[in-house]
Symmetry: C2
């Protein structure tokens, strides 16, 4: 609390790292690349989980749990998927330690406890789940299978950043099986919309819905749908993906069903996931140089009440009003903290709750008591007003909605201002250098061009937007014909 945060304009990356740590969201652990999610950070994640879990259940999905480990032979079964993850896998090879004969009190891996078959710590669970689905699907009556799991996964990344890229992360992964291609594609789109709606309505984060180019597709998918968001530094962040797997995993794991005519057919698959990466998106999209800015829908504490007092008598008087306000707000489902501790000064508390992104602060001092008022301070706009305590619960309820909308609107305006349509490669590069953001440009549809552009500018195709408009043009890079603009950006 003593030192202020680095400024976004000076060092966005350091601002982010420091903010995550100082706001008690997460920190690095004693394990390379793995993070500790601290209670305040985890409370935000729990709010995200609760909303998403409800949406998954409302769309007919059930939760289940599948093993952490994938035997190597299963891992290999879907070749493209295996190839995509082989280079970043944690591998269990032994199942026992023993005393180090040379160093008392130390342990070594027991060479006699080598596994016959190595186990891969799941980087994603298609293999282990589809191997299970073979036993669950016989008849068309068993379909669709609509299952989700909340789990930890491990991808051995060399360069890691809290929430954005960590060796272990938390996520949910939906895995569904359907009788027909049409149903599977419908599911893929439905879940993409669940994610997009969550991002926009809860995270206050406007997103572009789209489909990945072949280069950026999930390993083992036929098509990867995605939502892409824009951060304040002009970089894009993939916030969620929904994959149409075709019959790839059904074939690799021999998952067939007998249709109404008793004919055996392979099922059609989907998978979709969002992870603790969303925490990174939430933090980076809205926060400012004083700290977090949390949309009320996901704030663990929506309103904090800070008393300004000298001595117990004043505190007691303020506590009467504060407790009443707290109760009234809680009756409306609003989460409130009344911070009456005398360990820290009001000024210290103000800064602390600003850092932690509490959307609304109520300050109550002795003069307020006389006048029947309180001071209301908005975290997002940093505006303050003195209001009467009469009907304050209704006022605050409305204000929280207004804050939610206002944070979204600000992010949306930012996205609009930072989405640029370009028609030449020089313009393309200029925009990337000067303001970054989303760049809409014609592309000839080849992986070759995409790779060249990436090499030269670091920008990748984030997606072919779902609201893609057919429009004749020429590729900004190759000059070859193009049927429409795709979304480029430099991405996290």
């Amino acid at each position: 609390m003593s030192k202020s945060l680095p400024k976004r304009s000076e060092n966005y990356s350091e601002w982010y790292n420091e903010l995550v740590k100082r706001a008690d969201l997460a920190e690095n652990s004693g394990v390379k690349g793995c993070m500790v999610i601290k209670p305040y950070g985890y409370a935000i994640w729990e709010k995200m989980q609760a909303v998403l879990d409800k949406k998954f259940k409302e769309t007919g999905h059930s939760n289940a749990y599948f093993p952490l480990f994938v035997p190597k032979s299963l891992f290999e079964a879907e070749e493209k998927n295996a190839e995509g993850f082989a280079k970043e896998c944690a591998i269990v090879t032994h199942y026992r330690l023993k005393n180090d004969p040379d160093k008392k009190g130390k342990l070594i891996v027991d060479p006699d406890a080598k596994l016959e078959e190595e186990l891969i710590v799941r980087p994603t669970s298609e293999a282990i789940i589809w191997n299970t689905y073979r036993g669950w699907v016989q008849s068309h009556r068993d379909l669709p299978l609509l299952i989700n799991q909340w789990a930890n996964v491990v991808r051995w990344e060399m360069k890691t950043r809290l929430f954005l890229r960590t060796a272990e992360f938390l996520w949910q992964e939906g895995h569904t099986a359907h009788a027909t291609e049409v149903e599977a594609v419908e599911e893929v789109k439905k879940m993409l919309e669940v994610y997009a709606n969550f991002a926009e309505s809860y995270m206050a984060l406007p997103v572009i819905r789209g489909v990945k180019s072949a280069n950026e597709r999930f390993a083992g998918a036929v098509d990867t749908y995605c939502i892409e968001a824009l951060m304040q530094d002009g970089k894009a962040l993939q916030a969620g993906t929904s994959h149409f797997l075709g019959q790839n995993f059904a074939k690799a794991f021999d998952v067939k069903y007998s249709d109404k005519n008793n004919k055996l057919e392979y099922v059609w698959g989907t998978s979709w996931g969002v992870s603790t990466r969303l925490m990174g998106a939430l933090i980076m999209a809205h926060s400012d140089d004083e700290g977090l800015v949390l949309p009320p829908m996901l704030a663990p504490i929506q309103v904090v009440i800070v008393p300004i007092f000298k001595g117990e008598e004043q505190l007691d008087a303020i506590a009467v009003i504060a407790t009443k306000i707290k109760q009234d707000l809680e009756a409306k489902g609003i989460s409130v903290k009344f911070d009456h501790s005398d360990k820290y000064s009001p000024g210290f508390k103000f800064a602390e709750y600003e850092l932690k992104g509490v959307p609304l602060r109520i300050a109550i001092g002795p003069r307020d008591l006389e006048k029947g008022t309180v001071e209301l301070a908005r975290r997002d706009t940093k505006t303050k007003e003195t209001v009467s305590t009469e009907n304050i619960d209704t006022k605050i309820e409305a204000l929280l909605k207004e804050i939610q909308d206002s944070i979204f609107k600000k992010a949306e305006d930012f996205k609009t201002q930072n989405t640029t349509t370009v028609d030449s490669y020089s313009e393309f590069k200029k925009v990337l250098e000067e303001k970054a953001g989303f760049v809409l440009a014609h592309w000839d549809g080849t992986s070759e061009t995409e790779e060249k552009i990436k090499e030269e500018t670091k920008a990748t195709i984030r997606c072919i937007p779902l609201d893609f408009k057919e429009e004749q043009g020429v590729c900004v890079y190759s000059g070859k014909p193009s049927k429409g603009r795709v979304v480029f950006a430099i991405a996290y």
Copy 2:
């Protein structure tokens, strides 16, 4: 559904295994010793989690998340803890696979990607968490630290059984740090009582609260408190533990705080956990030869409505009443399934919901429509009655409470009948052979006697009960003096 379950009286162990599979609770996976928790089983676990999580938060705890992996050097730091888990650890030694040069499409572990330090997949998280707490605790103002995590853990068991003993299982682990020994011991007891209350009030499972003998203590703890339950085959099952860690981990990981006089002191620790093992206890304690018997408080479906109809017209008429009942019950927070599918006969459905332990079944046929009645069938007692639909929601609400109490009462009577006080070793052995259950006997307090008894009878000391009464006597085994009776049993 075709074959009936094995009978408990004939083969309790096979009855359990088959029940778990047929009721769609869990199954073995493609990974040795690891289970798949199926949607219906997971729904029960989610209900358990929700209740426990609420209780943890009400007692001041916050959730957080710590890494899956523990570097070997941290794992070793608390020697007794390390020794206790060293022989059952999954160990990650490599972080990459590569193409097998000899077999196309196959992968092998890349020898160039060997980790400098091996990582242990957490069998429990004291080491990684206490290593983190060192950074979180400076002053007495930082205490107590009251943290819980929901996570998966791995203990490499050779003989596994679904839910009861699996290589990977799900659990929660609370880890707290306190300024004083008194506070830490209070926490240990408080959380034991949270577990005991959960077992009794939600799982309908009466438990003995007690303290473990030195032999059965958690590796690294000063004292292990536990709750012990009795299964229908007379074997005991440890349902939850709460450990007083003293300053063992604080010293191993150098976690100190400065007290009000600025003196540096080691903190005092606790840890406590329950796992998916509770699922095993729940299943084994109440179920019968027809299937699961679930206490209403933890049943994913509390009431099922089965229509008995021929043709759509009858179904439509029944659906009007069924839907009304469903809505009224749901308004009271009761979960209801109206199974109007025409894929299966009513008889098939009856058996299916019996197998799945749905506490109450409502059957509605054409005659019921005429009379304004329905048939209510209790799963636990298998009694049926025809009741008027008038105020049926109130009646059902009361009946669910009655069922909950009745299941508890039955289990408690069973426990009472199967708790035997013995005064000689021959009596001790006779009881174990003939009826098993809890055996209350004098013990001389030595590990040696405890081990001898275990060797000869397989019985272990489940606990020294918290309601231990001082009573002069002689040890049933050694004849040496004893101050009171402890609880013996053959345990899962």
